[in-house]
């Protein structure tokens, strides 16, 4: 699954192969690399400042690049409002998978993350909301014990405190290295969603690049409202697996947010810059219910 994902992203980018004549890269050979952003989708080169100033969306082709959970939180929720839950939770090695601890150790060092999700309570324009944000830099945000447990606790906290919850999904699926224990996290998180749902509370999913596998087949698809960022990858099976079955190449937009919306599985596609505003409106709209169901 994970391997497929990387190839999907690559082929999709290669699919819309750039015409290099417009590319300004030659002009800027004297400028240090980290001052420039080269879009993996359209290959255009822009100043890093323009790219980051545009919420890390390619100004040329509107590619919504992957961003860290921290960046996401900063651009979406009120400044300094996050009260993080279960900050230091780390996974064990339930199936004694070789090198699992070492691999995680090195990713922790590189990313500063303890696992692939940040959960907590925050506000948007003053409205309280429970949040969970996945970070694809951590083992492609695959779901193992920690992601499952932190999400479940976040949903339980929201249910207990009669709060809405917003989950930004990004994942390669269940975490292979934790074996069947990972698979069970799908049931566990879906159970927590079920209880939040039965309490009449609002759950909004924001699908970001990539939302696939066991995450698509559990909590990600269970939002009352499902938002997706433009052009992100959303699907259950890996593209290569499907291509292997049907023995032909799939169109580039297969499993894109737009494809999912056309098929009826996404409510709206929202530009990154408008997500904070959109979420805030949706929260307000549900306030008499989602915010305080039994009052």
């Amino acid at each position: 699954m994970l391997e497929d994902l990387f190839s999907v992203v690559k082929t999709r980018f290669n699919g819309t192969e750039p015409n290099t004549s417009n590319v300004k890269k030659d002009v800027k050979t004297d400028i240090p690399k980290d001052l420039l952003f080269k879009c993996p989708r359209c290959s255009n080169v822009t100043f890093m400042d323009d790219f980051t100033g545009n919420a890390k969306v390619c100004p040329k082709c509107n590619y919504h690049s992957r961003i860290s959970a921290k960046e996401r939180i900063d651009m979406t929720f009120d400044k300094g409002s996050l009260i993080e839950f279960d900050k230091n939770m780390t996974s064990k090695n339930p199936i004694d998978f070789q090198d699992y601890e070492e691999k995680q150790e090195s990713i922790r060092e590189k990313t500063g993350l303890k696992d692939a999700i940040i959960t907590g309570e925050a506000t948007i324009r003053g409205d309280r909301v429970v949040i969970a944000v996945m970070d694809s830099r951590y083992m492609m945000a695959s779901m193992g014990s920690v992601v499952g447990e932190k999400l479940t606790r976040a949903f339980e906290f929201a249910t207990e405190n009669k709060l809405p919850i917003i989950v930004f999904t990004a994942s390669g699926g269940a975490r292979m290295q934790e074996g069947t224990v990972s698979l069970m996290q799908m049931a566990k998180t879906s159970g927590a969603v079920a209880r939040h749902n039965e309490a009449g509370l609002l759950y909004i999913t924001v699908m970001t690049d990539p939302t696939t596998g066991g995450v698509t087949a559990s909590f990600a698809s269970l939002g009352d409202i499902i938002i997706a960022e433009p052009k992100v990858l959303i699907g259950f099976a890996g593209r290569r697996v499907i291509e292997g079955t049907i023995k032909q190449r799939l169109p580039d937009d297969f499993q894109s947010a737009e494809f999912l919306m056309e098929k009826g599985f996404v409510d709206m596609i929202v530009e990154r810059k408008k997500i904070r505003r959109t979420l805030s409106h949706l929260l307000k709209l549900h306030q008499s219910k989602g915010g305080a169901a039994n009052e």
């Binding site: 499952g148 292979m176 069947t180 224990v181 698979l183």
Partner: protein
């Protein structure tokens, strides 16, 4: 119990004479009436469902269908359901809930089908819905893994009050083949993958996932299907005794907790 490695169990569950749900239904139940279709799109041959008597008690039976020959396998898509299969399962589950019939799910699939139409019709959404709705279904649910239990496509029939496995059955997050192809970029090393994935009934009992193991005869279920049916039957009798009289709130709490406690993590308060 003899301690066969997972790879040898893989051979046993793939043995072409291994009994399938079609063999077990007449041995386990009386008056089975098959029900068809999800009421939205179609009828998926990869999942069979219906109502029957189990020892005089009306039950709903839902199962993935392994074929015993090529023709059967074509009809059941090699036991790889499409979304409409999972939606049929959910429809029958709600029907069972309405009449407070216990549900018996038999799991026997390499995984949900990976194809264009499956994606178009929302394979992920269909599985997710089952996980969520089975969790709060107000009737007892018993799941038994008959052979291969592959990934989310198996779990979609696996949210239950008790999970039992036949002693040679396997239950994994990804097929051993898929595991090998990711880990070593070599799908042919699936037997090796099998042995490190911790996917046998004993492994999963240790991990708190499998609750009961149903014995198969030496060499596998195909050596004595009648005996296996008898063992399944006596397991189900016990499972009914344990769960059928539980107040519904308690049943649902126990079901939630069964999955809630799975996971291995540490909380380092000092760092």
């Amino acid at each position: 119990m003899n301690n066969l490695p997972a790879s040898e169990r893989l051979d046993i569950v793939r043995n072409k004479f291994r009994p399938t749900v079609r063999d077990y239904i007449p041995m386990l139940f009386d008056d089975f009436f098959e029900m068809h279709g999800d009421r939205y799109y179609g009828d998926d041959g990869a999942i069979i469902g219906g109502i029957a008597y189990f020892n005089g008690t009306p039950v709903t039976v839902i199962s993935q269908v392994k074929g015993r020959n090529l023709e059967e396998n074509k009809a059941s898509n090699f036991s790889m359901p499409h979304p409409e299969g999972y939606r049929k399962a959910l429809r029958l589950a709600h029907q069972a809930e309405k009449f407070y019939r216990p549900i018996i799910c038999l799991i026997d699939t390499p995984g949900a089908f990976c194809g264009v139409e499956a994606e178009e019709r929302g394979q992920g959404e269909a599985i997710a819905k089952n996980l969520m709705e089975f969790m709060t279904l107000k009737t007892p649910v018993f799941s038994i893994v008959l052979g291969e239990g592959g990934s989310g496509g198996a779990l979609a029939l696996g949210v239950c009050d008790e999970l039992a496995m036949l002693s040679n059955a396997l239950y994994s997050v990804i097929s051993p083949r898929g595991f090998a192809s990711i880990l070593w970029k070599d799908a042919t090393r699936e037997r090796e993958a099998c042995d490190i994935m911790k996917i046998t009934a004993e492994d999963l009992q240790r991990l708190g996932i499998c609750d009961y193991i149903i014995e198969e005869p030496e060499g596998g279920a195909h050596n004595n299907p009648d005996l296996v049916a008898e063992n399944i039957s006596s397991y189900l009798c016990d499972a009914f005794k344990r769960n059928l009289l539980k107040p519904i709130d308690e049943l649902l709490n126990d079901r939630y907790t069964k999955f809630r406690k799975i996971g291995e993590f540490e909380e380092n308060l000092d760092s």
